[in-house]
Subunit: 219 residues, 3 copies
């Protein structure tokens, strides 16, 4: 198993750190949407574990990790409690939250790709599920909050591209038998840095070609 390459405790710690920052982003959106304390908890849990949940259901790894490891239940709960009491402070360090979220993105796209490959998926699909692991929780968060998923919106910095690059690097490394803790970390770091740059420099993805000439624009 590729996942044996890593010290289990280190990988698990990183994973839980990713869960925590994703949960913070879910809880903050719940506060902004004026949800009650259970809305905050639900959105924290969904954001943190949604991507991995979808991946595990698709690869047939049921019950999913989110339903067998207590850390996946308690960590988002802690994040929700923290945001419940300290959200003005958390909002103030929103940029720091963005940095952690980028770290979670990098980590999850690599972990997701590796786990999907270990369950027998071909590499292109493993990489796709890596992207789903990294970005799926945020999409679920936005759907539950009845907002257009920020992943899809033109007026947000790119989020999918860093995940695609990280998951793609990871898949190529597996293809050439070169995946090890160092190259894994490198893939995650690449996605992380790309996302940081996207936030810092406002990188956006283009909309459809020649958009202004369409009927839709004038509506």
């Amino acid at each position: 198993m590729l996942t044996d390459l890593f010290t289990p405790s280190l990988l698990h710690t990183l994973d839980i750190a990713g869960v925590f920052v994703f949960a913070i982003s879910g809880a903050l959106l719940a506060v902004r949407k004026n949800f009650d304390v259970f809305g905050i908890v639900v959105l924290a849990e969904a954001t943190a574990t949604g991507g991995g949940l979808v991946r595990d259901v698709i690869i047939g790894a049921v019950p999913p990790a989110a339903f067998t490891d207590l850390a996946y239940l308690i960590t988002p709960l802690t994040a929700a409690v923290l945001v419940f009491f300290l959200h003005p402070e958390v909002e103030r360090i929103n940029r720091a939250v963005g940095v952690f979220d980028a770290a979670g993105l990098g980590l999850f796209c690599v972990v997701g790709t590796t786990k999907a490959y270990d369950h027998g998926l071909a590499l292109p699909f493993a990489a796709l599920l890596g992207v789903v692991t990294a970005a799926g929780g945020g999409v679920l968060r936005d759907v539950l909050a009845n907002e257009v998923p920020s992943l899809l919106r033109w007026d947000r910095e790119i989020y999918a591209v860093p995940a695609i690059v990280g998951a793609g690097m990871c898949a190529l490394l597996i293809q050439f038998g070169a995946l090890n803790p160092v190259t894994s970390a490198l893939s995650a770091a690449t996605a992380f840095v790309l996302r940081l740059c996207a936030m810092r420099f406002g990188w956006r993805a283009p909309r459809a070609w020649n958009r202004s000439s369409t009927r839709a624009e004038r509506e």
Copy 2:
């Protein structure tokens, strides 16, 4: 199997009663949203069977009960037809529908917890899936109708708390080997009464602490 504790026919009857009242709530929302007759049927089916469907997919009990037992298909259909023709009358007895919905909530959180435990999940996750069984259909209903899930909203009476209490009681009873038809019914009844009180006395859950001082409030 814990589910052997119950007379199958009694449990099944209660289960179908829960499916029926949940379907009524879905069909009524569809009428309010001005959906056509198929929209009414889809929302009735999704509300009634959505929570159990998600639970069964997560615990790996596929095909889910909703796709093996005709009662789960026909009962929501009947509710949809009823609402299609009689919705003004059903609206008028909306309070009665609320009572039945509370009964469904109580029943489903206990049935869901028991079934998840029988499929090998640890007790905290079994209780979590009990809550998902009870509240998931309503969330799916609201997402399909493009509304903010009423489960998450601050301005609605608490819905998750009664389910959490009922599922938690059920999990504790399993833990101490004390689950039997009587204590099961007691767990369901506790959730039922809590939800009734929440509706009667307008119990709401708090929003985030010190909310008024945040930027979000002034938006």
Copy 3:
């Protein structure tokens, strides 16, 4: 296996054609919603493979076909690229897209029913999953785009009825041992023609009975 009745290559070609036109409809909605290029790709993939994905998860056929056959990944991608560059032209042939979408609807409801039956589901549920296969992708598309699913809306031509008729015919043919390539094609063609008529003559499904007398109407 019933699916052995068909020349694999012919069935696969038709299937991919259905995936392609569904992806076009997803990509066009993404352009109208002003999504960026990744939003276009995500909506194309979700619309094209969403229905089959839900079916495969429910019948336990994991990993789903969408994650084992590269054609399901590349075809929507191609459709997304096409729409990205040529969306004004594609919009102009919107009626043609509607015809292809109707063809996809007819094909998918028959393929979905057959596959679900092959996985051991009873015929009513197999037909239900046929409808889910045909219409589920469009619902997922609309939920992701934060719109009321057009399947549920009163002011859209009927979409579910043709799928229900096609899937129901297919189920009846299986029941009487009369399913073969010719009768299968006939089921798909019936759904296709019904949907074309619905678009041509503006067929709509009724809303709830006596609707104007309700409180909802005056809101």
